[in-house]
Amino acid sequence: MNKLSDELLNRYIDGDLDSAAQKEVADILTDSFEDRSRYQLLLTVHEQLKKTQEEFISDTFTDRVMKKVFARKKAQKEQRNFILAVSSIFVFFFLIIIGVVVFTAFNSHVESHYTQNYTHDFISLLKNVGSKILLIFSPKGISIFGSILSLGILITGYFFFENLKSSRLKDNGVH
């Protein structure tokens, strides 16, 4: 009859028992032939598992992964540059619009309201600029501005996704 459970034998093999329990198991193993043969086979399985060799992957594996790493890095860089270029263009156009508005407002202000009272002049200039900006958001202005912005976003989006697609294809092509 087995005196030692499989659980105990496994923990004995792994050295998971305290010294008292370890001694107790060792004593039982000395006395009991059945337990000893179960233990010995379990130990053999454990020893053989320890001898299991790792599998070897093809020699070109590292080069293939590194090519993918570089391809992905390059694609990320290209995307970053693309986003940077597009945002610069948007910012540039935005600055032009603001510049034109301020310039127009300033010119009309100088022609009509110049009084040499700086505070008053400055406030009236700001009001003028504000009214010109509000013109952009008037029903007519907003539709023109919105159309141009949407067109810009659509064109940018198209090129951005085309760029993403081509970088993915390149990525898969390195296999």
Binding site: N10, V45, L49, E54, F56, I57, F61, M66, R72
Partner: protein
């Protein structure tokens, strides 16, 4: 360069020396391949999944906070990538969740005697290829990768006691299979 620790190499990669990542690949590729192959039971899929895992690890290097060893962090990525592939391919989930004892009771797919000149080593290798993925992954991590139960629990996202239970069950099942089929004399 090859004598550097993982952390030193990673620091170098993070500084912009991307070619140093090749040292990490060379260091881990075979052990990681063994793990993935045993989970997927297919060499071609294993290579592809391992490539993906190495790329994921590279892209996620900045998120590695050194709370655990690099190897644990890396094998966790490898394990999760392999398991995702298994799930996406909708392989029989019963295989994943089935007990190893049930598996050994279905002896039809384990006809070990068909192999000529069988020895203990080839028997074990053969069994590792055939037992459920989670058990073969665990045995691989414990015996081939030399990881502790704590590290394995972190990689497989299960408790340490579950790791020990699975480890013990695997050994018991292998031993019982040998006894039941009277393979002992043939193997040794």
């Amino acid at each position: 360069m090859k004598n550097l620790t993982d952390l030193e190499i990673i620091a170098s990669v993070k500084r912009g020396n991307q070619t140093d990542y090749a040292i990490i690949i060379d260091r881990y590729k075979n052990k990681a391949f063994s793990l993935v192959k045993r989970i997927l039971k297919n060499e071609m899929d294993a290579e592809e999944v391992l490539q993906d895992a190495f790329l994921r690890a590279f892209n996620g290097l900045n998120s590695f906070k050194q709370e655990s060893k690099f190897s644990t962090w890396f094998y966790r990525i490898v394990y999760n990538t392999a398991i995702s592939r298994v799930n996406s391919k909708k392989r029989k989930i019963e295989n994943e969740t089935a007990s190893i004892d049930d598996f050994f009771n279905l002896e039809s797919h384990l006809d070990i005697r068909t192999t000529e000149n069988i020895n203990f080593s080839s028997f074990i290798t053969n069994m590792l290829e055939k037992i459920p993925s989670n058990y073969s992954a665990l045995l691989n991590l414990f015996y081939i990768n030399g990881m502790s139960c704590e590290e394995i629990s972190e990689i497989m996202n299960i408790s340490v006691s579950n790791v020990k239970v699975m480890l013990h069950r695997s050994r018991n099942a292998l031993r019982d299979y040998i006894l039941k089929n009277d393979l002992l004399k043939e193997l040794i």
